[in-house]
């Protein structure tokens, strides 16, 4: 399930060599907005979902406009800090409007667990990886089969040349941010019933997703989805056999290990140094 969020890092990285460090906060915004529409206003679920996704695309575009574009062509890590800044502002706004406490998000798919032997899981937990795989497939199709997707890839490869070919680079980057936040929104809606909805949920989700993106390789969508599944499994095993807390320690330890052995990720491209 982290794969879905991590895919968002991949999309913006692939286009602009930048990423939204508050991707996790986008998940949180998705969950909070969906909660407000669905539970707060009693809207039908499909409508709430559509509104949430539109709102998230807008959020992504906003992040790009405010925190990334001013720094995109400057080779400075300023965008990194700027996106973190937007994230903590979003968290605070959510705290003020939504409240600090976590709330449960009702879903028919978490009513009763399916039991296989002694292990029980909710149908919702199956839904998450399925949707993840589906969206990954769509993203891949978009990049490889559509003209616009290919334009985005061109921007990633050489922004200057792509700009000369008439590609609107700022728009391309903005689109990738909107898309990336949209995925985060989907993840937010899917995860909301499993975790509880809370403004503080963003940071840790974002970090784990980033961990997954690094393990899988930022440049490889399939790598990320695989790593997402693997990471989820490792986490549940650690939580089951050692302790819930150890989960995070083992997970992040894994990232450091991957970075030391294979800094470009399991399926990522090894970067070539340009001299």
């Amino acid at each position: 399930m982290y794969g879905l969020v991590a895919l968002g890092y991949h999309i913006t990285w692939a286009t602009s060599r930048t990423m939204n460090f508050s991707q996790g906060h986008a998940v949180m915004v998705g969950a909070v907005v969906a909660y407000a529409m669905f539970v707060g206003l009693h809207w039908p679920f499909p409508l709430a979902l559509v509104v949430t996704l539109v709102a998230l695309a807008g959020f992504g575009a906003l992040v790009e406009r405010v925190a990334v574009r001013p720094f995109f062509l400057r080779a400075s890590p300023a965008w990194l800090l700027a996106t973190i800044a937007v994230g903590i502002i979003a968290e605070n706004v959510a705290q003020l409007t939504f409240g600090k406490d976590a709330r449960a998000f009702p879903s028919p798919l978490v009513q009763k667990p399916i039991m296989i032997g002694s292990v029980g899981f909710y149908p919702q937990e199956l839904l998450v990886p399925l949707v993840g795989l589906l969206l990954m497939g769509l993203v891949q199709l978009f990049y490889h089969r559509t003209a616009y997707g290919r334009q985005l890839k061109a921007v990633a490869f050489n922004p200057e040349a792509a700009g000369l070919m008439g590609i609107n680079i700022p728009r391309a980057v903005m689109v990738s941010y909107a898309l990336s936040a949209l995925l985060a929104g989907v993840a937010g809606v899917l995860l909301a019933p499993l975790l509880n909805v809370a403004p503080q949920m963003g940071t840790i989700i974002g970090l784990k997703a980033f961990a997954v993106a690094i393990i899988g390789g930022l440049t490889s969508a399939p790598g990320i989805v695989l790593a997402g599944l693997g990471y989820g499994l490792v986490e549940s095993f650690t939580a089951g056999y050692i302790s819930t807390r150890a989960r995070e320690i083992v997970g992040f330890g894994l990232v450091i290990l991957v970075l030391v052995v294979r800094p470009w990720g399991l399926l990522g491209e090894k970067p070539t140094r340009r001299v």
Partner: protein, 578 residues
Amino acid sequence: MTERLGWLALALAAAIVPLLTANTYYLYVVISIGLLTIVTAGLNVLVGLTGQTSLGHAGLYAFGAYTAALCAARAGLPEWAAVAAAVVVTSIVGAAVAAAALRVTGPYLAMVTIAFGLIVEGVLIEWSSVTGGPGGIFNIPKPTLRTHYWTVMLAAAVALWLTANLRRSAWGRACLAVKSSEVAAESLGLSAYYVRIVAFTVSAAFTGAAGALFAFLNGYISPDSFTLQTSILFLLALLFGGLGRIAGPVAGSVALTILPELLTGLLDYRLILYGSLLLLSIYWLPEGVVGALSRPRRGGGRALSPHPALLPSGRGQGEGAGATGPLLTASGVSLSFGGVAAIADVHLAVERGSIHAVIGPNGAGKTSLLNVLSGFYAPQAGSIALGGRSLRGLPPYAIARRGIARTFQTAQVFGGLSVQDNVSVGVAGPRLGAVVAALVSSPGSRAREAAIQSRAQAWLDTLGLGDLADEPAEALAAGLRRKLEIARALATAPLLLMLDEPAAGLSPAEIAALDRQLTALREQGGPAVMLVEHHMDLVMAVSDRITVLDYGRAIADGPPDTVRRDPAVIEAYLGAST
């Protein structure tokens, strides 16, 4: 002068506070400022000098605090010993973390450091037999607030003094060079990885000291003080105050300690405040408050000390005299990018003290060859040896240390350093001395510094850049940048100097000057020169030997006159068959 007055005023203000007020709250606030100053001064070494971002320094802060707390509360050590132990432990941890984490840079590093911070936080909570778990450690024997005030102020002053020393030393320049152009820094013999590890370790030591002093402030510590928010606060204070500036940490720490205290009523809006502050300071204060306030000062006439106007002696002469055989030999070197052969089976021998040109049409593989010889690309086949010793598999900085210096097709000068400091980086090369000596500005370190600067000045004078010594390097015009790059490469006292299209974009007069300088270099017994160049007049005039590449193959090799008449060369250049 005004700067010195400013520091004096600051010291006075810090000294007066405890005399004016008996209110412990104010002392407490100023101590917090001091602690934040120590952390950010250290972080400044990493972020400001090497340009790498850490969001895990709260983890190091925790290491300092818990080490000191355990030493004092459990082992009963006195405060100074506990702080010293904390610094040692944090330095070791910092070096270990850096060695693993700095294999990556930029956003990856930010992520790894975040992960480190979270792991530390997790361990603090979980390992309760040692750390006291979520409750933390109590009953740390603490000094009186007033005593502690003086300790922290003194420590903060020392921290600032140390970083100021470091910034002015060969280490400071090496850090800035790595930040500005990793490739160019490696071509001068600096290992970017190693320089960053040292910078990270220094920042860890500072953070550890601050953490230890923090433990003695309240007498208890708990994991709550060492979260990701704390790491962000550290970074924010530094950015807000002014990255890379010595006074930046002070300004940032004052602002970010006092502001939340003033706005305690707005506690709920704290994150919005931090976030906006961070955004605003990135937008409008890229150099922080301190950078915005200080006017850029132009050096008003450097005192010219007398210097002998001859070529500063280098390694080039002595070693070359006794040795025999060609200086550099490359045989059977091949390199391909994804099936496209950039260089195919090239043989080459550069004689000592000679000027050896490599020419060929665009895309013939000249620059690729240069990149292979200097270690930036690993060839798929072939062997390369300098003075009979193989260079195979060596990283660029190791090859530079063996005595190959180079320039780049697009001149890579170190922005953020003055013209003279650019050359000083070359003079020092990997010989940076002990970082501790640089921090405390020991007599040995100062003597080394004086020697480096006089050598650098001599090189600038030799190449006619003496008047520009104090200019920022990025302000130079293209032609002067190339010249500076050559001065910097020569300053490493190489055995072989590789120039990648040094005449590109130069005016005819500048090319003539380059011609004279190259011949003068040869006459004065300078290094051998390998010249990749398109400008035929220059090549024919100065070269002793020419290798012609076409489609990655060496199609001719010999003295200029032979090569000029070679039918294969004529065909490659004119497309005419005879």
